[in-house]
């Protein structure tokens, strides 16, 4: 073999894959071609280990306009001639190496995916995972990531409306940084990332090309992590000001009919954007890399084609319109250069002046092998799932109050205000429900509608039971939307897993996707876009399998949105859904880990009941029966009630509680399918009748009022005590 193992390692291709390329090309690939194959066949671009599994996810509904993989992001119809464009993407590995720039460029990349389609970005969210903040390096990563998201996102004028943050030991060497962006476009103005029409021109816009980010796709995103420090140069540096200019200029361009497509330069830079556009357009492309403006001297064709310099766009300009397009970019003080054209021969031809340095069929470059593996449940999983609740002592009455305070102050549950107040979440004049509730709500101007947006993904559940964890991730996201009064419309997901070449990890990946697929099918919510981040491990240890579900829903009348805080003294509080205490529901709970240091036991969900519950809640909100609705999740009933008090500044007093089962499970168990609602006393009968119709239990818990949280006989705390624990929990750890 004429190519060394080191060279193949560098481009993350196996020897077998190399042989396949030689066979299909009928010759040895050139250096540039090898680099292009390596990137496009990487997990990041080619999804070779996950593609077969991802097909399980449902992606169709009447409203879906763009499905996963078709374009840079998925699109779903929200009526009134408008579409929502949405995607979530990871920037885990760059953030582990350089947290500020890694997170910043993660935001930049996902925003480009949205405006590339002609949609104005109107909301950002982030789903983050870190190691414990007791460790200085984790605090550095946490501060850097939050700073990077704030620094980049704030400069763009796109509100960052929420997300989630969890901490666990397993994320210490490998934080997760997932960024979601949502945009709005007019249905008739959606731009496709397609290069077609022989003779049409390829125009590169924005930043100059440098050596930054070489091997991002094949190296950082597709390899495990020992060699991370050497790869520091693989992290790019962001320029949010340039991105802001690109947003405005490209959205202006999207209004014209001067182009056939737009595509941002992300992972694998010019290689993937040009080749993938050509693949979608069904033609070929020819690029002269001498025409690519450079940031530094002496760059080789290989470096130019694989650079991941940020803030660059590839625009396919209809022949004859290049002057107009250039003038538009000139006005925004953006550099634009014609670097090539569309051909009809189905080849990706890269020239350096007259010399051809790469020439390969587009459909070969984009046809990475698809791997399937047999799955076998790992032995160790049985041990995690076999959890006998009676092996631990129950919570004593006298410790109930102090345990609630500890839970409220614990990193996973405590308020994330310290983070979100650093993000501009109001710019755009659309944010109706600010960060801190179950879901963010943004109104859509010029309509009565609003969209509701949330992210969810409990890594601990997925670690103990990937299938159930996958179901819960989807169910809980949908429940969050239901609590805001929104009908779920679509999912975007980011699958953060370890090395899929390992049997255990592949099992987790498959089971998790199966669980998500099941929940998406049953709840009738299609997946419209997503991203896979594999090889998340440090020193051979995989982190929790962590699927993150981003979900958008629509509220037909924004005036009828609902929030989690109690509203008025004297309102009655009901628990909708699972009313019996299930002792095993403390399995894998925050409480179990906090109080006993145990991470074991299956999460508990009844998907059938979940669906009925969400429908019931939605109808109750639409009919105006409910004044507040809050998802009962991490930390169980005790935490959910405390949060509804803290969000409003109103207290709560329970009726006599009959603790039928264990006290710990009653107060802090995490049985799914439960929503805490408050209503006026005169609506009781209507709510009960509605609940009966959906075959959902509606259990009266107590009444809103006073300035204490009282669960008779168990918990009695002032709002001041609760607030001290919850509002300041995170800051105290920093």
């Amino acid at each position: 073999m004429p190519v060394s193992k080191e060279t193949l390692d560098e481009v993350a291709l196996s020897e077998k894959e190399y042989q396949l390329i030689v066979e299909k090309l009928g010759r040895e690939p050139s250096e540039v071609e090898l680099g292009m194959f390596g990137s496009l066949w990487s997990e990041h671009c080619g999804y070779k280990h996950s593609k077969a599994l991802l097909r399980q996810l449902p992606s169709k509904s009447k409203r879906v306009l763009v499905k996963p993989g078709e374009e840079n992001a998925g699109a779903v119809d929200i009526g009134d001639g408008l579409v929502v464009v949405m995607k979530i993407e990871s920037h885990n590995h760059p953030s582990a190496i350089e947290p500020y720039q890694g997170a910043a460029t993660g935001v930049g990349g996902i925003v480009r995916d949205i405006f590339t389609m002609g949609a104005r970005p109107i909301a950002l969210m982030n789903s983050l995972r870190f190691g414990p903040l007791t460790d200085a390096h984790n605090r550095y990563l946490f501060g850097g990531v939050v700073g990077g998201i704030a620094g980049y996102g704030n400069c763009l004028g796109i509100p960052d409306v929420g997300g989630e943050i969890y901490f666990a030991d397993c994320y210490a060497g490998n934080p997760l940084v997932n960024a979601l962006c949502l945009g709005i476009a007019r249905a008739d103005k959606l731009v496709k990332a397609r290069a077609y029409g022989e003779g049409n021109l390829l125009m590169l816009v924005g930043a100059d090309t440098g050596r930054d980010g070489l091997h991002g796709a094949s190296g950082l995103a597709s390899r495990t992590f020992e060699e991370e420090r050497e790869l520091r140069s693989a992290v790019q540096v962001g320029n949010p000001f340039l991105e802001k200019l690109l947003i405005e200029a490209c959205l202006e361009l999207a209004e014209t009919d001067w182009i056939t497509g737009m595509q941002d330069l992300g992972a694998a830079g010019l290689t993937s954007s040009a080749v993938e556009s050509a693949s979608r357009g069904g033609g070929g492309i020819e690029i002269d890399i001498l025409k690519v403006p450079r940031r530094e001297k002496g760059m080789t064709p290989y470096e130019v084609m694989l650079s991941e310099s940020q803030e660059r766009m590839l625009v396919v300009v209809k022949k004859g319109y290049e002057g107009k397009v250039k003038a538009l970019f000139d006005r925004w003080e953006l550099r634009s250069d014609i670097i090539g054209h569309v051909t009809g021969d189905g080849l990706a031809r890269i020239r350096e002046g007259e010399k051809v340095v790469a020439e390969a069929p587009v459909n070969l470059l984009t046809s990475s092998p698809v791997y399937r593996k047999r799955v076998k449940k790992p032995e160790w999983l049985n041990k995690l799932q076999d959890f006998d609740v009676t092996s631990i002592p129950d919570l004593s009455r006298k410790n109930a109050s102090s345990t609630l305070l500890r839970l409220l102050a614990s990193p996973n549950i405590t308020s994330k205000r310290w983070v979100y107040r650093q993000y501009d979440h109001q710019v755009g004049n659309n944010t109706v429900v600010l960060p801190g509730s179950d879901a963010a709500v943004l109104r859509i101007k010029e309509t009565k509608k609003a969209i509701s947006l949330t992210t969810d993904g409990n890594g601990r559940y997925c670690y103990v039971n990937p299938y159930l964890g996958g179901i819960v991730a989807v169910a809980e996201a949908a429940r969050n939307l239901a609590c805001s009064g929104a009908q779920p419309l679509a999912v975007t997901n980011c699958l953060n897993f370890g090395n899929p070449e390992k049997d255990d990890v592949y099992y987790q990946l498959k089971e998790c996707i199966d669980g998500m697929a099941r929940a998406c099918r049953d709840l009738k919510i299609p997946v419209i876009s997503g991203n896979v981040s594999l090889y998340n491990e440090t020193k051979g240890e995989a982190m929790y399998p962590t699927p993150v579900v981003g979900m958008v829903g629509v509220i037909d009348d924004v005036a009828k949105h609902c929030t989690s805080g109690f509203k008025n003294e004297g309102d009655l509080v009901f628990l909708l859904g699972d009313s019996q205490t299930i002792d095993s529901s403390i399995g894998s709970s925050e409480y179990l880990e906090l109080a006993h240091g145990i991470i074991k036991g299956n999460p508990y969900i009844d998907l059938e009941m979940e669906i009925r519950l969400q429908r019931c809640c939605l109808e109750a909100i639409r009919r105006g029966l409910i004044k507040s609705a809050h998802d009962c999740s991490d930390g169980g009933l005790g935490v959910a009630l405390a949060e509804s008090c803290l969000a409003s500044g109103l207290g709560f007093s329970s009726y006599d509680l009959e603790a039928e089962g264990r006290l710990d499970a009653t107060l802090f168990g995490e049985a799914q399918s439960r929503i805490i609602v408050s209503i006026t006393p005169k609506s009781v009968w209507k709510l009960e009748r509605l609940a009966t119709r959906y075959n959902i239990a509606a259990t009266k818990l107590g009444a809103v009022g006073g300035n204490r949280l009282i669960l008779k006989g168990y918990i009695d705390l002032s709002l001041k005590q609760l607030g001290e624990a919850w509002w300041n929990g995170l800051e105290k750890l920093l």
């Binding site: 704030n154 004028g157 650093q422 993000y423 109001q426 710019v427 944010t431």
Partner: protein, 228 residues
């Protein structure tokens, strides 16, 4: 009555201002590209928030050299109204139309939150529709909003009652904990000597509808409209 909204490269409150004035207050507002030099025809010009030129050097330090700024100076010297919000306030200070400077927040973080502003002077073109001492609920969103001026300037501002808004508690008390960024004397907004240029860090255009949490920002626009 016609408002002009200047767009510098990197401005992002332009659309929010446009929405508040056109859609909520049903007045006329038009965008002005920063390279334009003719401001005749406008009654009030807005410098909106954002990160002009990325604020890479110092907030507003580059934008002040935009062609529109000399036209703005002339416009203002003729007695026409100018309001700078957030980045716009920073640009007005950089250009010398307003005294003082806006430094990095004392906690060194960007801060987006609701604030309460006590109206300190209701006999200006920007506050005539406010009640005496009225507290307005208007949000902030900035990294460099800590108002600073030397002692002489500060004394002059205070003596001339040119401090228009101060960060306060919801009840109107001027306290340290109500100050979100460490501004001297809790200053949130000031006017120039002639009283026809206002700079303020909070975003009145964001507080334009009860649905968004407050419509108190409209009082400022209504005052401007009433004064023309």
């Amino acid at each position: 009555m016609k408002f002009g909204i200047i767009i510098f490269p990197g401005t992002w409150s332009d659309r929010d201002c446009h929405y508040a004035i056109n859609d909520i207050l049903k007045q006329k507002a038009q965008y002005i590209w920063h390279k334009e030099t003719d401001l005749s025809g406008y009654d009030c010009v807005i410098l909106p928030g954002g990160f002009s030129y990325g604020d890479y050097l110092r907030s507003g330090a580059i934008a002040r050299f935009s062609p529109v700024m000399s036209a703005l100076e002339h416009f203002n010297s003729q007695g026409k109204l100018v309001i700078g919000i957030c980045n716009g306030f920073q640009i007005l200070c950089e250009s010398g139309l307003l005294p003082g400077a806006l430094l990095t927040n004392d906690h060194l973080q960007y801060r987006c939150q609701w604030t309460h502003l006590k109206t300190e002077n209701t006999s200006t073109a920007f506050t005539s529709q406010c009640q005496h001492g009225q507290v307005l609920k208007i949000p902030i969103g900035h990294y460099e909003g800590r108002y600073y001026a030397d002692d002489a300037t500060l004394d002059e501002l205070e003596n001339d009652r040119r401090v228009i808004f101060r960060y306060s508690t919801p009840a109107g008390k001027i306290t340290e904990s109500a100050n979100p960024n460490g501004s001297m004397n809790n200053i949130a907004g000031i006017i120039n000597k002639k009283g026809n240029a206002l700079g303020m860090m909070p975003h009145p255009e964001r507080a334009c509808e009860p649905l968004l949490g407050s419509s108190d920002g409209n009082i400022i626009w209504e005052s401007i409209i009433a004064s023309i």
